[in-house]
């Protein structure tokens, strides 16, 4: 029996290994059926039942790219980087999960699929941003596509899979270890790209900005550049929201997101990426001033909407059209 693509999956952690000093890889197997194949660039959201620093029970939900071969439905693989400023999700994965544990994940969803009509695929990864490309590579190779991977990292922290990629892909991959003084020259790289190239970028904000700036200088058309930019929600000041329909009040703690707080009090909000890019969680903002942290709404929409997966309140309270 294979699992359907709408209900959450129960998965068993069948293997854990460290693939870089701060990155741990988890192999997951379906326990009530076979997992579904997915498309390159897809991610799943992992539910992590833990507790806050104050000892309150709390479930974190983070999105992680699948990095196994998309056609292999026997297991999924994800890799988690221990974040210095983690709100708990990555700490939970690194310290609380062991082989044999059961986790709950959503079915795969994809916000970062390759553009198959491109004549060349230029993949640019930074640090743990290598993960979505791990599922690109087998498919690009099967399709006989023209591609190049440029992978920069700090060897003292990240750099997962660099050696095996170099071995498998030879010239098609270039690695840059910043800790060894190697630098990816974005301006040079982008300048050389031929007609019909699509560019895919995943990594830290600094890398995304670098690509954005250089591409703008060269006059690259926006539609040829694809960013995977979901970031885990960042903490902020505590605040509270009121639901317009019921008058219910929900308190949002410093280290939880508005979406998590809503879910914890039984309010269901549709969501997919939990990182401010997909648009699923858009919620009406009836009153109050929001601190927008998403990459989805435009300035006009920001007057009357909020993305609760990442955004918070600037004023003490908000009224939501829920």
């Amino acid at each position: 029996m294979s699992l359907n693509s709408t209900d959450n999956y129960q998965v068993k952690v069948v293997a854990i290994r460290d693939v870089a000093p701060t990155i741990r890889e988890f192999t997951l197997q379906g326990i009530n059926g076979e997992l579904t194949p997915f498309s390159p660039g897809a991610h799943v959201v992992v539910a992590m039942p833990g507790e806050t620093a104050e000892g309150k029970a709390k479930t974190w939900k983070n999105a992680y790219s699948l990095l196994s071969d998309p056609r292999d439905s026997s297991t999924y693989k994800i890799a988690v980087r221990l974040q210095d400023q983690s709100r708990g999700g990555s700490v939970f994965m690194h310290t609380r999960v062991s082989e044999g544990d059961i986790l709950e994940i959503t079915p795969p969803a994809n916000l970062f699929a390759p553009y198959w009509r491109a004549q060349k695929h230029l993949l640019i990864a930074g640090g743990v941003g290598i993960t979505p490309f791990m599922s690109y590579l087998p498919e690009l190779q099967r399709a006989g596509a023209n591609f190049e991977l440029h992978y920069s990292y700090r060897g003292n922290q990240t750099g997962a899979y660099a050696a095996e990629l170099q071995q498998q892909l030879g010239d098609q991959v270039r690695c840059y270890d910043a800790d060894a003084g190697e630098r990816l020259q974005l301006a040079e790289l982008l300048k050389q790209q031929p007609r019909g190239t699509h560019i895919y970028v995943c990594g830290p904000e600094l890398l995304l900005d670098g690509v954005r700036q250089n591409a703008a200088l060269l006059g690259y058309p926006d539609s040829l550049i694809h960013f995977e930019e979901f970031a885990a929600p960042q903490p902020g000041e505590p605040f509270s929201v009121t639901l317009e329909s019921s008058g219910q009040k929900v308190d949002v703690g410093a280290d939880e997101s508005l979406l998590e707080a809503l879910e914890a009090s039984g309010v269901k909000v549709p969501n997919l990426c939990r990182g401010g890019v997909c648009g699923q969680c858009v919620t009406k903002l009836v009153d109050g001033e929001a601190e927008h942290r998403d990459a989805f709404l435009d300035d006009g929409e920001r007057q009357s909407c909020i993305m609760p997966c990442v955004s918070r309140a600037k004023s003490k309270g908000l009224v939501l059209g829920l």
């Binding site: 050389q192 007609r195 060269l218 009357s304």
Partner: protein
């Protein structure tokens, strides 16, 4: 999320051609026409050469015949970088053919700019027999395929670079309206 509603009775699918601006940040500048009869394009080319230098400007004379156009454009643009700005001048249908061919070759729509059409002549697509006619200047126009008298509408298919024609006198074929020049 609220956009003011404006009533506009123009047919929405009819393309509008605004003033074309040089995008000099793009590494390569390419000027395309069927023959050298576009003074505006020539002027832009000269101006561009002054700004970015002749090495980064390319003048292409490309056939209006679709099949020839496809091979000519494929060869002429093979070595161009992603960061290329393209300016096209000619009849409306020619410009759309060039644009569609370039998009198939991997360029993005936003890097291709079309100048104002050099004439009011239209390509016309008969919705009854699918015949495509070039250089139509008046409406109604007798279909060269099925003989139907066609009203030349302002509806434009970007994919075909063509306006659509529909029978103007289906009820009473003896009714023959006086021809009007197209704008």
């Amino acid at each position: 999320m609220t956009t003011p509603v404006e009533i506009d009775d123009r047919v929405k699918s009819r393309p509008q051609y605004g003033p074309v601006k040089l995008q000099t940040s793009q590494q390569q500048q390419v000027f395309v026409s069927a023959d050298a009869n576009s003074a505006t394009l020539q002027q832009m080319f000269d101006e561009c050469t002054d700004i970015v230098g002749p090495d980064r400007c390319l003048w292409l004379t490309i056939s209006a015949d679709k099949a020839t156009m496809a091979t000519e454009l494929a060869t002429a643009t093979a070595a161009l970088p992603v960061a290329t700005a393209i300016y096209v001048s000619g009849d409306e249908s020619y410009m759309w053919d060039v644009r569609n061919t370039l998009i198939r070759l991997g360029f993005a729509p936003e890097q291709i700019q079309m100048l104002a059409p050099l004439s009011t002549a239209r390509r016309l697509f008969c919705t009854h027999c699918y015949t495509v006619m070039e250089g139509v200047t008046h409406t109604p126009h007798k279909c060269e395929g099925c003989g139907e008298l066609l009203l030349v509408r302002d509806h434009f298919s970007t994919l075909m670079g063509s306006y659509v024609g529909v029978s103007i006198n289906a009820e009473d074929p003896s009714e023959i309206p006086a021809p009007e020049a197209l704008s």
